[in-house]
């Protein structure tokens, strides 16, 4: 953490007025970002309510109380636990058993903040529509505005393994691009965004649809793709975990790269280019 703050300090060292304020994030991208941010949180939290109804995950076509789950969050006496295969982790106070709840996910992270499967489902399926419609509109916009080809696609140079490896090392050292290079997304950032837009969101939507008995009649092949309804449910949950991981890293990067500047750019579009680091100057 100390190294991180040292770098941030060195980045904001130069007088702010000396550094250019650039228009980096266009309005539709900003709108989608915030709609999507609210949607993902609503989906994760109402999804936690739905998971609480049966906090066990299985692989295959069926799975209920008599089958062995590969993941379970529960409670044994005065102990909350998360069981992953044969590995049992004590989660008392966080999952399975907290001061105020005996459910898998505590009320602080669920919508609504009490157990109601019906209300959780109502929130989940409302925001599912928002998620689907906004990603469709965003992808169409991204293609036609060239946001996809200009900002998100990796250049031939960036796709080289040596380049990616260099970028990974720079990230690990918390050295982020400065000056002109900061106008564009960096390769790892591009991969993370592309992963959310073209892998995580489609996968979470498709596995969600595969859990619908009505849509199983319309598109039975979806069950074959995911290996059955319970497998689809497990993959759906893993996608949710993927979103959680993305949000954690995303927010961490915002904090490390300068939260005020980053927030300004995702609200107003304007971004102040970070000064070149002293060690390079």
């Amino acid at each position: 953490m100390e190294a991180a703050s040292a770098i941030i300090t060195s980045q904001v060292d130069a007088p702010a007025q000396d550094r250019a304020l650039v228009y980096r994030t266009r309005l539709p991208v900003r709108i989608w970002h915030w709609v999507n941010a609210i949607t993902i949180f609503a989906m994760l939290m109402s999804g936690a309510t739905i998971f609480n109804a049966h906090p066990r995950l299985y692989w295959g076509k069926y799975g209920a109380t008599f089958e062995t789950p590969w993941l379970e969050i529960g409670r044994q006496g005065q102990q909350g636990f998360l069981r992953l295969g044969s590995l049992q982790i004590d989660t008392t106070g966080f999952l399975g058993l907290t001061e105020h709840s005996t459910r898998a996910f505590p009320p602080l992270v669920t919508i609504p903040n009490y157990y109601s499967l019906a209300e959780g489902r109502q929130w989940h399926f409302f925001f599912a529509w928002v998620l689907v419609l906004s990603i469709v509109v965003f992808v169409i916009y991204a293609i036609f505005s060239r946001h996809l080809s200009h900002d998100l696609s990796l250049s031939r140079e960036e796709r080289k393994l040596s380049h990616l490896w260099h970028d990974i090392k720079e990230h690990a050292r918390l050295r982020f691009p400065t000056g002109e290079a900061a106008k564009a997304y960096n390769p790892l950032q591009k991969i993370a965004y592309l992963g959310v837009i073209f892998v995580l969101i489609p996968l979470v939507v498709l596995t969600g649809m595969t859990m619908s008995p009505m849509l199983n009649a319309a598109f039975p092949w979806m069950l074959d793709i995911f290996g059955g309804r319970q497998s689809a449910r497990s993959i759906h949950f893993l996608c949710a975990t993927g979103f959680l991981a993305f949000i954690f890293i995303h927010l961490l990067m915002v904090l490390l790269a300068g939260p005020i500047n980053e927030l300004r750019s995702i609200i107003t579009g304007w971004y102040r280019l970070p000064a070149a680091r002293k060690d390079r100057a």
Partner: protein
């Protein structure tokens, strides 16, 4: 001391946050807006699903070794207890409401009617699934025989079980009612339907979640509207826990 202060602050902050959340989730306007999602899901799913598209059917190898029971497992009414003691020999299924020819059928008559057998997956709203083999009479056959009035919108299933005195009931629309896999099952996994699973008959409506699969069906009623029937929500869970009437997802 600092720890306590920080802890108190945290509890206070999360309390405020929770109060804010409760204000949003409890707001009647918010609840009304959220029902738009349910309406969109019903219309969207009906749009992309052919009315006769079949729910996936499985092989005997796929059948769950143990099929979990849910809801009531033993209706408490003396009437049902008497039927059960008598092996449902005097039990009759009533078919009525807005029909030209109301009639009733004994279990033996139901078993003598044309049958359909299907191995299908039962999906509980809670998330679990179980696969079982069901044999029964297609509901469409009975409705055709009763000559349902053209103004009928829903078929209601009145059941013998209750929750603290409130009877269980469910309803489906005509698309699901006339669907070829919608049957009144009297046989499960090639055995007479066990009491825990809804003896003597339970509804199987294979493109819907578990709470639509009414057990202990006593009476089938064709209606024009669900208003005025019990809580008006079209089912026990719809009335009492706010479950969505459309159970396609």
């Amino acid at each position: 001391m600092t720890i306590i202060t920080r802890r108190t602050a945290l509890v206070g902050a999360s309390g405020l946050l929770l109060a804010g959340c409760e204000k949003i989730t409890g707001s009647p306007t918010v609840r009304k807006v959220l029902t738009l999602g349910e309406k969109a899901t019903l219309s969207g799913q009906r749009l992309v699903t052919d009315r006769n598209a079949l729910a996936p059917e499985f092989s005997r190898a796929d059948i769950s070794p143990k099929f979990r029971m849910n809801g009531n497992r033993m209706p408490a009414s003396t009437e049902y207890q008497a039927h059960m003691a008598n092996a449902f020999a005097d039990w009759k299924l009533e078919i009525g409401g807005k029909v030209a020819r109301p009639f009733s059928l004994s279990l033996a008559q139901l078993k003598a009617a044309p049958q359909r057998t299907q191995i299908t997956r039962h999906d509980c709203v809670e998330g679990w699934s179980a696969i079982g083999e069901w044999t029964g009479v297609p509901l469409a056959l009975l409705l055709r025989q009763a000559q349902v009035s053209p103004s009928v919108q829903y078929i209601v299933f009145h059941c013998a079980d209750d929750f603290s005195g409130t009877p269980y009931y469910e309803s489906i629309d005509m698309i699901d009612a006339l669907h070829p896999q919608t049957i009144l099952a009297h046989t499960m996994n090639r055995q007479p339907l066990p009491v825990g699973h809804g003896a003597p008959i339970r509804l199987r409506v294979e493109r819907a979640l578990g709470y639509k699969q009414a057990k202990y069906v006593m009476k089938i009623e064709a209606v024009e509207t669900l208003a005025g029937l019990h809580g008006g929500g079209g089912g026990y869970w719809e009335d009492h826990s706010g479950y969505q009437w459309f159970a396609g997802i």
